[in-house]
Symmetry: C2
């Protein structure tokens, strides 16, 4: 099944809008009309959920008549809905099923995979991705490397305490009320390095929130260290955390600094790939 398709270009991110009618993104194998229509559609987001015809035409630099046909087509297909009261277009029902799929764990994992691979490759350590679901943190993807010392955290592993970089990071970024809720749980001392003092933990979370990076220095398991950075969604909410895990032997000050830079950079790249636009 892989066939010669395996030789397919795995696009990085070149894609920069070329103003004039041309849509020849990278191949000549693009159908212009579809391309233009999709560009119109892609303008809709939480920050700008409704558009008038002229707005669309103006910002896409397409002819008004052309844009009109696009919107009518998308309307006919249920991708857009025209609101006669306001004269604006909104997303239509056809996008609901797609949105349910897009927000699936599996889809996030798929989209994130290449970035995890890159992270693992560049850092030389295991890369992980975790999401929060109802107050717990679940490892949903992991990419190992050549010198993986041990399988660290298995996929599907549920993290309920704060002895790991993923949970620390996510909890640190929450509003005070929710953070307090987490802190009300009894801390578990998994290793002798685990933080148990409430004050100490709070200080650590403050540091994490400020720096935007969380560390796990053998707090979850002896000899195991990690760094985690946040992945944001289109509306700026935290949708996942990614980390690099390694043995303490390869987590000295210098290596730790390098790992931190790697994780942070990839987290930003992934966030942007997923539609996050920093303010």
């Amino acid at each position: 099944m892989a066939e010669n398709a395996a030789s397919r270009r795995r696009r990085t991110k070149d894609a920069e809008v070329d103003d004039l009618g041309g849509c020849a993104a990278d191949d000549q194998f693009v159908v212009r009309a579809l391309c233009r229509g999709l560009r119109v559609l892609a303008l809709f987001n939480v920050d700008h959920p409704e558009w008038s015809l002229n707005e669309l035409a103006r910002t896409t630099k397409l002819h008004k008549a052309t844009t009109y046909r696009m919107t009518r087509t998308m309307e006919a297909e249920g991708f857009l809905v025209f609101d006669p009261d306001t004269g604006n277009y909104h997303l239509g029902p056809a996008l609901i099923p797609l949105s349910y799929l897009a927000q699936t764990q599996a889809e996030l994992e798929r989209l994130a995979k290449p970035f995890l691979e890159k992270l693992a490759r560049e850092s030389g350590e295991t890369a992980n991705l975790a999401i929060e679901v109802e107050g717990t943190f679940i490892m949903i993807a992991s990419v190992l490397t050549a010198h993986t010392f041990k399988p660290s955290l298995p996929i599907g592993r549920v993290l309920t305490d704060l002895n790991n970089a993923h949970a620390k990071l996510a909890v640190a970024m929450k509003p005070p009320a929710e953070r307090a809720q987490f802190l009300s749980r009894q801390p578990v001392a998994e290793t002798k390095y685990s933080l148990v003092d409430r004050k100490q933990i709070e200080a650590e979370l403050d540091r994490v929130a400020q720096e935007g990076v969380a560390y796990d220095m053998e707090e979850h398991g002896l000899g195991v260290c990690s760094v985690a950075a946040p992945v944001f969604g289109p509306n700026g909410t935290l949708i996942a955390t990614i980390s690099v895990v390694g043995p303490k032997e390869r987590f000295g000050p210098d290596e730790r600094k390098r790992a931190t830079e790697h994780v942070k950079r990839i987290a930003v790249e992934l966030s942007e790939y997923l539609g996050y636009r920093p303010v």
Copy 2:
């Protein structure tokens, strides 16, 4: 702003796929290429999250070469991603921002509004829509009618107990564990008709779950009755509940039966509009 656009067709649901290449859904103002592309895109959903080129071509009855160009275009625009390992296409990152928007309260409200209006018109009573958020039920849309007796439940009103049709319905459809969690809350007797006996409540919920309709016979407020029916999303999960509210004078056996039929029918229509496909 409303202008002549106000005279725009408010489509009902005619849209039936016309097999042959033609995409002339209802106007001549459709761009065929875009239309076809969207139809390809719309095939992706939770039940069938990945498609191969030939699958797409086959089920859309488009030429393989055409489909190829479509997928390549959508890939270039980030709407699809080709996985070289499996040889299948998946949804791409461009859909993430859209999906975040599509799952907004505001968008649901927009899409549901016409249905609520229809429900209010046909039943002659006030129509409401509520969603659940973290264990409570919030009224997010309401359409009044000529003989609205009083403003019933205001928009934004939070319902925490089971003395209303929305909460009853939603709780009744939950798995036993979650239902039990709700039942552990102390019941509040808002009126003399409120159910307070645990056994009685359970029996009522069982009935609701079986019939797929919940009633509120003056349990929340004296003289106020209502019927609620469930709205399902693409993956079959409950995403909202809609209801009809009226004074007890207009809620005799016959009227109640008619109202029930109205609510149920509109609930089904809205569910299907939102992508729910009944098994």
